[in-house]
């Protein structure tokens, strides 16, 4: 079966510093794949390479078997890649509804319409309202985003990615910074993501990783250190030594 997402010998250097060193990943469709590693292991760099924010020094990236190494970030989105950011990247002065209509409209190819009003795009509006409802954002959808509580903003962050109907979704620490009382809401959403979406989770929180993922890759110092099922990784003494030990 063609992997949903694949990297082949990915390398990224900044000057003399090698931050991603020969990383080859293969993620099957529908997987719940976690990418873990101590601080500075190069997790965020990998995400940035995957989404096209950075260009790799060498190696290839494939989505559904198609080479996207040279594609621009927005072209990758069109191929089915979506991501959330570790720190919210929202449109502060738009309402969640507007942000969502924008995302849905872009997917539908309505983004270049410059004569028909936003409101007349009933398809996008309906779908946007629908997703917002699912993400428990319907009651705040007409308020400016900047005023929303952090937990709600975090939900919107994920909802915007989901609105693109991605094949591969990269979640960069989805629960980071969410206050304890809102946490379960975010986690429930993450757990309930549609099963046909391939999810790559970058996470620090081991409880979340173990409860969510079916497969785990461990990064250390830019290299792929270990890969296996949850059970294998949690038993691996070396992983414990270099990672779990450090993290504790």
């Amino acid at each position: 079966m063609t992997p949903a997402l694949e990297t082949r010998a990915l390398v990224k250097r900044f000057g003399g510093l090698v931050v991603t060193n020969d990383v080859s990943l293969s993620i099957r469709p529908g997987a719940r794949h976690a990418l873990i590693g101590p601080n500075g292991a190069g997790k965020t760099t990998i995400i940035n390479l995957l989404t096209g924010a950075l260009t790799p020094s060498s190696g290839r990236i494939l989505i559904g078997g198609e080479d996207i190494t040279e594609a621009s970030p927005f072209a990758r989105v069109k191929k089915g890649m979506a991501r959330t950011f570790q720190i919210n990247q929202l449109f502060d002065d738009l309402t969640p509804l507007e942000s969502m209509v924008l995302a849905v409209g872009e997917r539908l190819g309505h983004g270049t319409r410059f004569w028909r009003s936003l409101a007349s795009d009933s398809q996008a509006a309906a779908e946007a309202a629908d997703i917002l409802e699912r993400f428990r954002l319907a009651d705040v959808m007409c308020l400016p985003t900047r005023g929303l509580p952090y937990g709600k903003q975090r939900l919107l962050e994920i909802a915007l990615a989901i609105a693109l109907k991605p094949k591969v979704l990269l979640l960069d620490e989805p629960a980071a910074g969410v206050p304890e009382e809102d946490r379960h809401e975010v986690l429930a959403i993450v757990r309930d993501l549609p099963s046909d979406v391939t999810v790559v989770l970058i996470e620090h929180d081991m409880d979340l990783v173990f409860s969510f993922a079916d497969r785990i890759s461990v990064l250390a110092a830019g290299r792929l250190f270990a890969e296996g099922s949850v059970a294998e990784i949690s038993r691996d003494p070396e992983v414990k030594a270099i990672y779990l030990g450090d993290a504790a």
Binding site: L94, L97, V101, R116, L118, A119
Partner: protein
């Protein structure tokens, strides 16, 4: 098929946001009324309308596409020269001249838009500036076409559509400028309230996220930059047609700087900023240059410095009305109909 209540609510909200506000109606009624209530001020009013259109065109790129330009006069000037040359060599009918001049300025905008896609704020500032200086120099050198440093004179403008003649008091001129301004605003308003306009805002506010929504910024910036150039060309053409003269300073640096100031005075990113700024700036300058002909520049400078130090947002008229309304207890979303912050 009755939609779910959520969806109906969503559509209703979007419609409300794009709807004309009472303040807007009020503004246009006042502007039209001024044509009859202030017979001795028609020239100043025309100047305001032209400057407002010019500033609005700048708002399209500064406020919506996030490109800081210090050379917008290039398009204004090209529009002005085009209108002058068209009336001398092709047709003196103003509407035809206006549309063609806008198109010519738009072509220049299209050609130069590729230069502002890359680089930092400063790079864009300097590129736009460089382009406008080149054009200004070209106009100066091509004296056989443009009259060089003496400008284009001897321009005669026919009555508009063969009916309305330009009079000495400038009333026709003002009504003409006002109509063009209004039409331009209606079109711009539609565009910024359409998905295209929303995506521009998204690119400007957060380009990383915009890219991750699959928005490719470059083509859209090219489109809005071109449109902005067309508008600036219109403004330039209006100046030529109402004054029957083109001087080389339509391309001068100070015009680019002035229009940026005007836009900022009125507030960036909600279309009316340029209009309000034009009113404030022109009235202030007209008043100061009568009170103190030699030193009005000092006071304009002082206003600018104070404006920035106090914080533009706090003075921004749109902000103010929004603020007043929140204070009077109306709900937040409807209370900030026009206010948009730029980064």
């Amino acid at each position: 098929m009755s939609p779910l209540p959520r969806q109906a609510l969503a559509s209703a909200f979007l419609r409300r946001k794009a709807r004309w506000k009472p303040l807007e109606y009020g503004f246009w009624i006042l502007a039209l009324g001024a044509a009859f209530a202030l017979p001795s001020q028609q020239l100043l009013l025309s100047e305001i309308a032209i400057l407002a259109l010019f500033a609005m065109s700048l708002d399209l790129i500064v406020g919506y596409a996030g490109i800081l330009s210090l050379g917008h006069a290039a398009f204004f000037g090209v529009g002005a020269y085009a209108a002058g040359l068209l009336s001398l060599h092709l047709t003196a009918e103003p509407l035809t001249g206006l549309i063609l001049s806008g198109a010519i300025a738009g072509l220049l905008g299209l050609a130069t838009s590729y230069l502002v896609l890359r680089g930092s704020d400063l790079t864009k500032l300097m590129t736009t500036f460089g382009v406008s200086m080149l054009i200004s120099e070209a106009a100066n050198q091509a004296a056989w076409l443009t009259g060089g440093a003496d400008g284009l004179s001897g321009i005669l403008i026919d009555p508009i559509a063969g009916l309305f003649e330009f009079d000495l008091f400038g009333q026709t001129g003002y009504l003409y400028c006002l109509t063009v301004l209004f039409a331009a605003l209606v079109i711009a308003r539609r565009i910024v309230h359409a998905p295209f306009g929303l995506s521009l805002k998204a690119i400007k506010r957060n380009s990383r996220r915009a890219a991750m929504l699959g928005i490719s910024p470059n083509r859209r910036i090219v489109v809005i930059y071109t449109l902005s150039a067309v508008y600036a060309g219109f403004a330039g053409a209006l100046l030529t047609q109402t004054t029957s003269f083109v001087s080389p300073d339509v391309l001068a640096f100070h015009r680019s700087a002035d229009v940026l100031l005007v836009l900022v005075l009125g507030g960036v990113g909600y279309l009316y900023g340029g209009v309000i700024g034009a009113v404030i700036f022109t009235v202030l300058r007209a008043w100061l240059s009568v009170v103190t002909p030699q030193y009005w520049m000092f006071w304009i400078g002082l206003v600018l410095v104070a404006l920035v130090l106090v914080g533009r947002d706090r003075i921004n008229p749109a902000r103010l009305t929004a603020w007043v309304r929140t204070k009077t207890g109306r709900a937040a979303p409807s209370a900030a109909p026009l206010a948009k912050e730029e980064a």
